[in-house]
Symmetry: D2
Subunit: 130 residues, 4 copies
């Protein structure tokens, strides 16, 4: 599951299993917006990579239909961002994911963004030849 | 209003005035996802760049609070994507933008994504020294 | 296509055809929230009724997967609210609707809310016996 | 904090404190849509009532800017729906709420809808005369 865009942005895939994935990114100069904080598009890319990994790690070929994002606090250069995407509901053809992004800060962390995403399951993945 | 992240992704800012901006991007290998079509994060970055430009081109310093995106059709490598962000409503402290992305195809175009975005206006921009 | 909830709220269905419907409601005391303006849930019910009518008026049995609403201006008791829901994109199994609500004011109108809604098409409607 | 619209729909306010509220509703014939299941607008009204109570129970006068809802499973006549709205983040002028609706079923419950809502805090409530 190579993702050229995730590589371009510098998103690291920490883990992925059916319905759950974690990604991370360290905010660098190339992730900034005109205000000098992390670009909303970079935060979204981090979240989308976790979501795509979680929703495609198992049996299903899934594509995003709709996503909503709430931005909670800006992140600064040098900060380490962590993201988790988790399937919270599934029916036969669709599923809902909740995705959270936070900045690592000591033991707790500060929330940076929270997303909801609805996928459409196009079908089951063809079994890979052995 | 330099945007390092927009440059990283390859988003071109075609025009920006208070409340309206246009961006463009030609889909390249680096924009792809695991399905071999354009990554949702790349489409979002294109839209977000137009939105940020439109909402910061005038008097106000604006930050995104919430955005929702509906993905309508996938885009392929080599396609030219165009995006328009337009303010559709404003009150004293908040404003709503509508953002559309389509693939240039002959005369008409095929819609790729449609977004709504709510901004918070932090204040008026300090006048620039002459 | 009787809708008990739309009747309870006082939503009038003005017209419905495949992919397009209009509804209306006159704001009464029963529609108010704790601030004395129209309740967000009443505005949503007006929009949802138009959307459900438009997405079920034709061949397809459609159910809402995800909706997002942006509230633009409050409405007052006595105001007449108009709503239009329009299909802006469709693929085989899903479709996107744009829904707008405004308060009738002289010739133009003031926007009250704007929504995006994604439907899943469960299948085609059984032909009615003649 | 009387809410005529919540009363019209039959929403019960179970508890409300600053940043957290619970509501409930028993699905009756008047809450149904054209498919004979609970209307999306009724579920939204239940969620919106909890959200409005939680975001206005304390110091702040808050109004909704944007909400997104994902519908997870339909609910039937006679089912008891429960809802919780919880503030998950706040800055000086805005806050994010997460709202969940489920159908009471034995010990666990089945999720019916999940929402995110962004509020704008217009100001602090005038102290009530003693």
């Amino acid at each position: 599951m190579r993702e050229p865009f995730a590589e371009l942005v510098g998103v690291e895939l920490l883990s992925a299993s059916e319905g759950f994935a974690r990604t991370a990114m360290t905010v660098a100069e190339r992730h900034l917006n005109m205000h000098g904080t992390v670009h909303g598009g970079a935060v979204f890319a981090l979240a989308d990579a976790a979501f795509a990994a979680a929703s495609n790690a198992g049996r299903y070929v899934s594509v995003a239909l709709a996503m909503s994002v709430a931005y909670l606090s800006p992140a600064q250069i040098g900060e380490r961002l962590l993201c988790e995407a988790r399937e919270v509901h599934a029916s036969r053809r669709t599923a809902l994911y909740e995705i959270r992004v936070w900045a690592e800060e000591g033991s707790s962390g500060r929330e940076v963004a929270r997303l909801q995403a609805t996928v459409y399951r196009k079908g089951e993945r063809a079994a890979r030849p052995e």
